[in-house]
Every structure is written in C-alpha cells, then in structure tokens.
Amino acid sequence: MTRSVYVLGAGAHPWGKWPDKPQLQLAHEAMNLALEDASLAWPEIQGLVAASSRFEGGMGWGLHANEVVQSVAEQGIPCINVGGACAAGAVAFQTAYALIASGQHDVVAVLGAERMPKGFIPRPPGSPDDISDSDYLRWVAMGATNPAYWAIEANRRKFDFGTSDETLARAAVMMRKNASGNRLARFRAATSIEEVLASPMVADPLHLLEICPVSDGAAAVILGTQEYTRKTGRKQVEVAGCAIATGDFGDPARRIPTVSTNVLPNVSHTSEVVNAVNRACEMAGIGPEDVDVLEMADNTVWHLLSWPELFGFYEPGQGDWMLDNGKLEIGGQLSVNPSGGFLSFGEATTAQAVLQICELTWQLRGEAEGHQVPNATIGMSAVLGLGANGGSVILKT
C-alpha cells in the first residue's frame, strides 16, 4: 500500500555565476525558501535527500545532505546522497517520494545545489588512462566535446526531416522569450533568429546560443503527506507519477562519452528518459495529450525539437511545425519550458531536475509570475544524466 505524496514547498536560488557564495550557502538559501513556502521549519523535516555534486563540497564523498544538516540542524534525521549526474535531482526526488509513499516518513526534503567549473566539463580524476574508459578515449583519440555529440544528432535530424537552421534558432529564441518573465533565469534578454545564427558556431549546426552553458544554482522541494499539505492551506500539488530509469540495449542515441553505438531496430532513442516518462505516465494514468506543461532538459535546441516527439507528444518530425507555428509557446498546445529552460538558465547539473519540479509546482499553483501557463493542471518533467540515467515527474492539481 502506498500513500499519496504532495509538494508542500518549493524554493530556488537564482541561476547565474556566484563566485562569492559557496555551494553550501546556495543550498541553505534554496532550503530556506522551500521551507518558508511550505510554512515549515527544520524541526519538521524528517529526512533530507541530496543530489550529489562531483564539483564542490560534500566532503569529497558526495555527502551533500550530511553537510547541510550538520551546518544547520543536527537532529538525527536520515541523510541520503544520490548520484545520477545531471539526472541526480530526479533520482533524489524519486527517493524522497518513496520514503513518504511507503509510510516511513511524513515530510522529506529534496535538494540540489551546484557551482560549476568554467568551460567544457573536464574529465573527472580517478579513471584509468586506457581503452576501458570511454571518457579518456573520446578525448585523446578524437577530442569529442559534449556539444559534438548533440551536433551529430542535430545534423542527422536536418537530414531526416529537413529541419532548417532557422527552426533550430527559433527554439533558442523561444527559450529566451519565456525566460524574460522569469526572475530566476540567468539569460533574460530577448534574442532573434538573426542573433542566434550570428553567434559563434561551436559544432555544426549548433551555434553558441543554441547550446546550454553552465551555471551555479540551487533548488529544493519539500514533500509530504496529504495531512501536511492540508495544513499549509495552499492549492494542493500532488505527485501523480514519478519514475527513474536507465537505457535500453540498442538505443540509437549518441551517448556521451561513448565512441560507438550498437543500434537495434524498434528501440527508443534516448530510452532512459523515454522509459522514465512512460512509467511516470502509467503511474499517473495519463498520456502525453493530458500534459499542459513540459519542463525538459534542453541541453541544445535539438533536444527541444526531438524530445517531445520521442515521448509521443506528436509524430517524429512534427516538432518543427509545432515550433514554427507557436504551438510550444506559453499557452500553446503544449507549453515547453515556460521557465526558459537550460538554454536560459545554464546547467547547474545536479540542481537542474529539482528546479524543474519547483517550476512545475509554481505553474500548477498559478504562481509562475511573468511566465504563467494559463490553467495548467498537469505538468511533466524530463531529464537525462550521464550513465544513461533518465527521470520524469508528473505533478497535478
């Protein structure tokens, strides 16, 4: 038997570059905002699940939850630290959800806080310099950067569906337009197709403004039982579905940092995320057609065009028409990333999936000031992380 789980509170520190704020401080500020939003304080928190960073803090062992608790409220609660690379926030959410749904705890917090190093994400230490490590091989044998993998996908899309450079650029323009009303976003100035296409080419066909940069940021959500959500007196936001998944053998996606792919027929592209989305939909008893808002990982403009197709929102190749005709804008047929997405935030890796859930919470409550999707009642998140990690959360009011 499982219990229903609700989002009691959500909070996020604005995304940007914060050289004067350690990751721990970003974490505190996000937690404080989420607690305030839930009308709760630390004594009520019965557990903390953190999406662990590999870049800073965590005592070098990814112990971010412990670090936070030890610095603000030593009260004997369980601290769980989860990995999942850029999907870690979704893994953390799933973990906290299970702690409450199972009846083990009534109020659990989920946290992701990250300060990113500059430029291309470097190879982590501790791996062998030989063919057994793809992340060594891809650098030394061919210098394949992350954007190169996404660019190879985008070029194939151009070949398969005739996607134009203008349509790719339009996706970036839409993200900036959405971000212009979101005070948490880092890049909020409007842009144009001409400006996007005039930005430096990084990896053909992707320009600088079509690829998400890296940022610092932190986000937190507090989950709890129905009894607790009633106490807040706010509009109830229920977790209708949540799932994490890994990839399938034969998936044709170009998976960073591998240098080869074994492609089998009838296996979903980006199967780790598709699997998570399908399971979350099944759990919620809904289909893609029921979703009002999709917050998805737009590492590039290619993702914005392809992912909704992969999830079954519409046919492969139709994303171009949907975008070109304004169907993906705020209030369109499917509002995609009303927050402004990774392209406007920059990716603070482990915090990103938690931020997606904050955004959905605000959208469903009608509190997404400046970028509200009218009458949104069902929201879905979708995120991908290194190691073929996928996660998806569906919230409803």
Binding site: W139, V140, M142, N155, R156, D204, L206, S260, T261
Partner: protein, 148 residues
C-alpha cells in the same frame, strides 16, 4: 634510444592494429549473440544474451557516414593535436547496427555528406620528442563500389 624516439604508436593501446598494410579497429565479439563492441569490452551488454563471454575481433574497415559535425573550438588539453584547426567528427555505420565515431580526413569540410562511403585510415595526431609520434584512427572517403 634514437629509434624509440621516432616510433609511431597508437594514441591508446588496443584501439587498432595495422594488418598487412590495412588498419583495423579492435573490438570484442560476443560468443552468444555475435554482437560486436568497440572498443574492446569486458562483457556482452545484450540483456537477452546469456553467454556474455567475448573475444577480440577486428571491425569492418568500410562503412557509410550516418551523421557528422565540425568542431570549431579546440577541445580541452587532454586532447592533443599538432597544427590544430577545425575538423570533422563523423558517426560511421559499419554494418549490423554498429556505429563508430571518429575524425574525418581527406575531405573538405563543406563537401562532407551523410551517406558517403568511408574507409578506415590511421594518421599521426601529434609528435612528441620523448614519446614519438602518436597515431589515431580516422575515416576517409572511399570508392563505394566493391569496397570491403
């Protein structure tokens, strides 16, 4: 010592070999389901395969271009290349569902086309006075007819 200084060796050991003048990528083939992996793998990854044991094999050295990009920014320092300039990275279909990424060579950047026939070649990536010349594999345009 002088001879060693001028030795040419693969950028990573176990990546490829030159067999009778023809470069070959080294992979692993599963005994159970015949899937070929690149680079050499510890185990078969097919969830339906119960054998899982693999042995070293050579990959086909011809294929077709599935997609590509041109890297316009110099990758971070782990990557090393003499006379750096923007270069193409291709994803090459070698048959039976196996797609391999590698640098493209012997073709102008604006003449690369998805579907073109390619063959495996080996070229120097950089030279170092202490460790000699480092070679990597690349794909170059090939005649389509009779390529094998």
């Amino acid at each position: 010592m002088m001879a060693q200084q001028h030795a040419s060796t693969p950028i990573v050991e176990g990546l490829f070999e030159i067999v009778a003048g023809t470069p070959k990528l080294i992979g692993s083939q599963c005994h159970g389901c015949n899937t070929i992996y690149f680079p050499q793998a510890l185990s078969c990854r097919n969830p339906k395969c119960r054998d899982k044991s693999v042995e070293q094999t050579f990959l086909p050295h011809c294929g077709t271009l599935y997609s590509y990009t041109v890297q316009r920014y110099q990758p971070p320092p782990l990557f090393r290349m003499d006379h750096w300039s923007p270069y193409a990275l291709g994803l090459v279909d070698l048959g039976d569902g196996l797609q391999v990424m590698g640098m493209l060579t012997g073709i102008k950047l604006d003449e690369i086309a998805i579907g073109m026939a390619l063959k495996l070649v080996v070229e120097p990536l950089y030279s170092d006075a202490e460790i000699g010349e480092k070679l990597t594999y690349k794909f170059a345009p090939a005649e389509r007819a009779g390529a094998a």
